[in-house]
Symmetry: D2
Subunit: 386 residues, 4 copies
């Protein structure tokens, strides 16, 4: 058994979670014994048992709706502790909601939001930030390995006619971990945030995979965010193991003025809010969120290491839970035939320096808390066979 | 034990649901033994055990995200059966999302949406329909008992300068059951829908409490909706016992063109979609939804009957799960002191004909699947004591 | 010749305007000699000769575009003088643009704008405020003679669940002169504005007919606006005699932050801006605006006095340039046959106290700077004949 | 005197325009005798005398407002003739309005609009298309000389995850003449439009300088637009010599359904609409529009030819009324000192192949109908002196 699986066992042995885990196991196709080799997305994994158990336990009698319940208060307090300051917290059911609400709150409708050209907000949210932001403009910028360089941001800020003719640069949005599976170093975040602030922009961090980044960085949540200049964080839990729970966190609570109305009219104020809060409560309790992320990252690192040993070197450093490689056709076919699942990755998104043979097939492999050592082993064995 | 409680027992004895119920009971403040007298809202109730159990059971291995899973396919098929035709289904996490997305899809941004002045979309959604609809206009109309009369709608249609100066009437939205706890008769829906269609308007039904209406009407889902002229239904499950699950149902599937993008950019495409579908699946299975609604309606009817016997006559016919009465101050104080919970109701929303003594306090009492006979009994006993 | 015509002659004899007037007269159906009896709207009148002459004179060589020209600077300075304080000015081509931009700037998207139910913004702008305001909500309130009473506003402020469920009252919009041809007294504006400010609302004034109100009130522009509590004024010139020119005026210039971008992205930053400014320059020069308004008001007053003498009493006090009366069918037919033009007025918009015979036809008669004494005389003579 | 000036004289001798021209000349700094050397923008020129004269002549008595007047009807008929088919016409006061309204009408809010990265809609309209389009997304693509290549468009269409995750490509917007002063050949438009249509996209043409393109192409308006596949044209008149007048032209009138409401709620339905129509009427009469454009293009061609002779070769072919060159510092300084006006052009917008010495200053020189031969001669003489 590899380390990331060992961690998962450790988790499953803690307190009441064990009980539910056993109960659940008895009724379910076991998570950790079969090897579905599902690397499509961390969204394909189910819910971490401890989180689901918390949802079940929250179903206790009546509770006032719309976030005025004890579970929500507790999560808010917990997040203040974790981030070492007063924060304003808004729980929502999806990551797209978190990002779009946060960005819309930081930018006027005539604002421009600078982000990586491959950022989820730019490519995968069907224009949600533009919609919530009243028609704001996303400006996708290039950057190696999913990261923006300060020089690129600076050049973008210097371009154009300025307001009122051009959209007014208002927000810098950084994805952490990035869509390329890399992680901004703290000093990189700090430099970008300083640049943004110097030009009057707010700094948003899309942390759909924040936990994966954090355990990679080995720093505190505060260091990874507001201490480095982040103003608002989309703090994801869903991809990491929750059912459907994300938080928008304002590090300057005053800046959140009006956000409660914005969330409500977006249809993102969940009525039976305790169940949203209960997910976060369990996610944050006893560092479960970090354990889950470590497990996912360890699986990715293991996968990357072994694939590299086979000559299949990832395009970018594997710093979180995603591995991008080009598979020879025979390998791809064999893996698919064996039931492995993963998505192709567009060739034009690869680094210019990557020398990918024309017939090789670039793919993305995403690990999650539910990825097992056996998943990785089988995958590698199949890749190796060719 | 009263009938609606008996029904609830019957439910809890079905199949695997029993098991979870017992497990849950062992860990939780028991739903059906204490008497919290919580009449604030059906949102304050938790999740019906069978539905929560289905969520737990759905946590089985990996599943493709964003609604391309088997649970979702099954729910779509089930809804086609229930409504006796091909329907297009979009699951979302909140009722505000369902309403706002549906209305935005039926109206151009320059459209006017005719609705009751007290409709949830007009008073409680913070402008969500206007936001999703690109600035459309809600036109709140008066109507006794929460219902619109055809003459009122007709007058509204005849008013104004017409397009392009005035907003163009585009949608008629009916709330079923209404905010006054009444239920439109089928022939009332039919007459209103015919009028709307004759003027080129689409007909939306806000069915946050659709099940409550349906069991009150004793008709089929098809009769209550498209057969009576409804084009799109916001089909609620949350208030009725789900965790967070609503469906937008287009009875003419072609009309749903583009709705998938609209939902996604609204942030309402839940990634781990199977858990949304699993809720609906359990809700619809073995007529659970109707059983839950009957239970809530029965509690309201019982409450209304007993309060009437005490001289506290509801303002409007109690046809679903809401009772509106004016409490003498002493009664109100005594109930509150005993822990009963409910919200005041604004005096100006009462019928003109209601002769409420100046010191009496109008209140709204909402029952749910979780309301027990003991809740009602204690409440009535306390009301009676004065 | 009546006084308002005398004034118009006086105007036409001033300076260079005479020259153009003569040139124009030679080529055009003369404004002041024929009697078209056009009472449809002040929009149907052409452009006051002095204003058109100013446009022609502005066509002199090159000028930097987008409002950075001398004409615009001059108008801005002039408006500061007229309003006796630093104001921020934004010229736009239409009244709907002025209102929608102003309101959108004063309200968050989740705001509610309280206004009279018959306000132009509510009935005649096709949802422009909602569109520009990102889906804000107009709350139309009743009020005798087109005016809101403080008690009505206060009641509206006390209604509803409050944010985040209900839209947040954010703006009070007053129309001055009103759509009923009445004029708020200064003390009425002051009381309403004080109430609004006490509840945190901003005060907008739709002054499409501001000049008509001002000459009726016999007070200074400052007294009619910011001294009475108005925060932002839509200052109309088009209806009063300009070609297409309105100004949004912020009495607290700091509040206008971002408005330049808002105007631009609304498509309302006119490129050859000097021609917009030139209209305002002429409009404001030598009190032309007040002269034009006095002329229009005098015509309305004269018309009202004479119709009253015939037993056709206006429904509301004629305080600006609009007269609302019910015409006997024979009178209406005879006037129409003689070529008089005016619009019917909806019966439901009349005061409850008005006892209009069922066959009589309520109409609106609008005068303008271009209405002649002969227009009025012929109209009255025709009305009288019956 | 050069040819383009001769043309301008010819125009000024036609019919009544002569009269006004003389009158105007007597009062104004003469357009065609001084040499302001203003090459900042065609927006800096005033109004062509014949167009201003038409505005003056339209000021004749009363006219029904909001576009229901005879002037508007006449312009609509004229545009049908010019484009050789039934078209739906919407006059608006600004080019930004025309583009934003047109694009919003062709794309759903979740649509993507493919355009050149330097297109005016992408860089200079402060997000107007995004605002009017409810948050749609502009996708700026690279292209030499301001033009898009089919291969670039095709690649963009193949990118991304598709709906509902990515914005749905819905419109291809071509700028004609381009921002680089070049002109798409008919066959280029045809190829791009065919590609767009094959993928279900509509084709919009931003014709702020449509006349300049047309006289360059020497084809008919129909050939340049719908016969080549253009669905909707923003037909500019302002830059070409009008005061403030643009037209949105739908070549399939059915597609314009709802556009009247969209224009109104955008605040772009001008009340005294005859003055908007009168501008277009004069613009189109006796081919004035083509004459004005020929004059501007001839000035640019002359300027380019002479600068090239001096070794200052334009970066792109001069096919309309814009010339882009890099000036040696001494030349730039001397021109500025002599009063010449023009804007710098960003170095990063130049073609990669352009070898511009580091100290040279790229500039944009825009000619207009008001540019004189003397303007060009003085400019060239000053450039030469160094």
């Amino acid at each position: 058994m590899l380390s990331y699986l060992a961690q998962s066992c450790q988790i499953s042995l803690r307190g009441t979670r064990v009980e539910l885990f056993d109960i659940a196991s008895a009724r379910q196709p076991p998570f950790f014994r079969a090897s579905p080799m599902n690397f499509t997305s961390d969204n394909a994994a189910g819910v971490a048992p401890a989180i689901l158990d918390a949802v079940v336990r929250a179903n206790s009698g009546f509770a006032i709706a719309y976030g005025n319940d004890e579970w929500t208060r507790a999560v808010e307090r917990r997040l203040c502790e974790i981030f070492e300051r007063e924060v304003a917290v808004f729980l929502v059911p999806t990551g797209t909601a978190a990002n779009a609400l946060a960005i819309a709150h930081l930018s006027p409708p005539w604002g421009a939001v600078l982000c990586h050209a491959d950022a989820h907000i730019a490519t995968d949210e069907a224009g949600a930030p533009e919609f919530f932001g009243g028609g704001l403009k996303l400006v996708g910028l290039p950057g190696e390995g999913g990261k923006l360089a300060p020089s690129t941001v600076e050049a973008a800020l210097g371009r154009g006619r300025g307001a009122p003719h051009a959209a007014l640069p208002a927000v810098l949005s950084l994805t952490q971990a990035t869509e390329a599976g890399t992680v901004y170093r703290i000093e990189e975040v700090r430099a970008l945030a300083a640049l943004a602030h110097a030009h009057g922009l707010a700094v948003h961090m899309d942390g759909a995979r924040f936990a994966n980044a954090l355990v990679s960085l080995r720093c505190t949540p505060a260091e990874a965010t507001w201490k480095a200049g982040v103003d608002v964080l989309s703090f994801g839990a869903t991809k990491a193991g929750a059912l459907a729970a994300e938080a928008v966190i304002f590090f300057d609570a005053a800046r959140a003025n009006g956000m409660a109305s914005r969330r409500k009219r977006g249809g993102h104020l969940v009525s039976k809010h305790r169940f949203l809060a209960a997910q976060f409560d369990a996610y944050l309790k006893d560092d479960l969120w970090l354990d889950l992320a470590r497990r996912a990252n360890a699986a990715a690192a293991d996968l990357a290491r072994r694939l590299t040993a086979l000559g299949l070197r990832p395009f970018w450093p594997v710093e979180a839970n995603e591995v991008f490689v080009a598979l020879p056709p025979a390998v791809d076919d064999r893996l698919k035939a064996a039931g492995a699942q993963y998505y192709p990755w567009p060739r034009e998104a690869l680094p210019a320096s990557a020398a990918v043979p024309p017939d090789h097939r670039p793919v993305r492999l995403v690990t999650s808390f539910a990825t097992t050592a056996e998943d990785v082993e089988r995958f590698v064995a199949l890749a190796c066979a060719g």
